[in-house]
Symmetry: C2
DNA sequence: AGACTGAGTTCGAAATCCGAACTCAGTAGT
DNA sequence: ACTACTGAGTTCGGATTTCGAACTCAGTCT
C-alpha cells in the first residue's frame, strides 16, 4: 500500500537531528568544502549562537567532527564524517525536487555526473537483480511482516 | 554576502518549505494514506495551530491540495499532489540514512526492492554512461562552471 | 602598544511552538 | 427540542527558539 512501510521511528529520529532549517544547509556547506565557524556563518547567514548549538548537535550525532587544525591559538574546524557524507543522497533528492517542482526560484545550476557531465538521475539499486528502479518499487518490510 | 551557488538558492527555497520538523513528517503521513486534519494531528502528535499553519503552507507550495469531500457539513481533507509524491526519493534517502547511521533507534523495518525483497541501495544513475555511482562523483555545474 | 583573527558566549527583543479550551455547522439519538 | 458528538479549525497564555549585535579570550602581526 505505501512504499515507506512503517519505518516511522527511524525517520522521526533522523528528523530530530537534521530536520530543522539549518542542519541540511550545514551539511551542504560541508560538502562544498566549508569548515570554519566564521565561514559557515557568513555563507549561510546563520546567527552565531544557533550555529554553535547546531554544530554541537551534529557533532554529537556523528555528522560532523570537530578537528583541531592549529595549536598556537588553538583552533577547531568542522569536517563532515562518513555519515555526514552519506546524507548527500537526501540532499541531492531535495535539489532535484526543487529543480523540478519549486515554483519560485528556478536554479541555473544542475547536478551532473562529474566524469561525463551528464545530468544525473536518482535511482534505487538492487544488488541481486542488478537493476535500478524507482520509488514505486520500494517496499518496507519489518519484523511482523507487515508492509 | 553569501556565495551559495545557484543550486544553493534552489535548496534554500526548498528547505524554506519543507525544512522544519513537521513538513516531511506530514508528507510521510500523506504517503501512508492519512488525509484528515484530526488524523494528522493524532498520528504525528502535532499541535493543532501548528498543523493548520503547516498544511496551509504546504498547500500554498503545491505539495498538498485541500479537497472538499463532503457537502452537508462542509469538510475538507488534504491530499498529496504530484509534487508532494515526488518528495518520496528524499524521504527514502532519509530513511536509508537512518537505517545505516542513526545511533539511537535501530528501526525494526527496512526498505527493500519489492519484486525480490532484497535490501535496496541508493545510487545516482548516469544515463549516458549507463552506470550507477556514489556521491563523490556528483558535481554541480552552472553559469560560472564552479563546482 | 594597538589592531586583528577565529571561535565562540552573553544579552534582550522578536518569532514560534505548545496544550488546552473554545467555536461553528451539521448529524444522530432520545 | 435537548443533548451529545464530529471534524476542522481558532483563540489563549505561557514556554521555547531564534535572532542580531556586542562582547570575550588567546594568540599573532606590525
Amino acid at each position: 500500500m505505501n512504499q515507506q512501510g512503517q519505518s516511522g521511528a527511524a525517520i522521526e529520529e533522523t528528523l530530530r537531528v537534521v530536520g530543522d532549517r539549518w542542519s541540511i544547509l550545514l551539511v551542504r556547506a560541508g560538502l562544498r568544502g566549508i569548515r570554519r565557524f566564521d565561514d559557515f556563518c557568513d555563507d549561510l547567514g546563520i546567527a552565531r549562537p544557533v550555529l554553535t548549538e547546531r554544530l554541537r548537535r551534529l557533532v554529537k550525532f556523528g555528522i560532523f567532527e570537530r578537528v583541531k587544525y592549529q595549536d598556537k591559538p588553538v583552533r577547531y574546524e568542522y569536517r563532515l564524517t562518513e555519515a555526514g557524507l552519506a546524507l548527500s543522497p537526501a540532499l541531492v533528492a531535495l535539489v532535484r525536487w526543487s529543480e523540478e517542482y519549486s515554483q519560485e526560484v528556478t536554479s541555473e545550476t544542475t547536478l551532473v555526473h562529474a566524469p561525463c557531465g551528464t545530468e544525473l538521475e536518482q535511482a534505487f539499486w538492487c544488488r541481486s537483480c542488478q537493476t535500478t528502479f524507482g520509488p514505486h518499487a520500494v517496499k518496507g518490510v519489518g519484523v511482523n511482516g507487515e508492509s
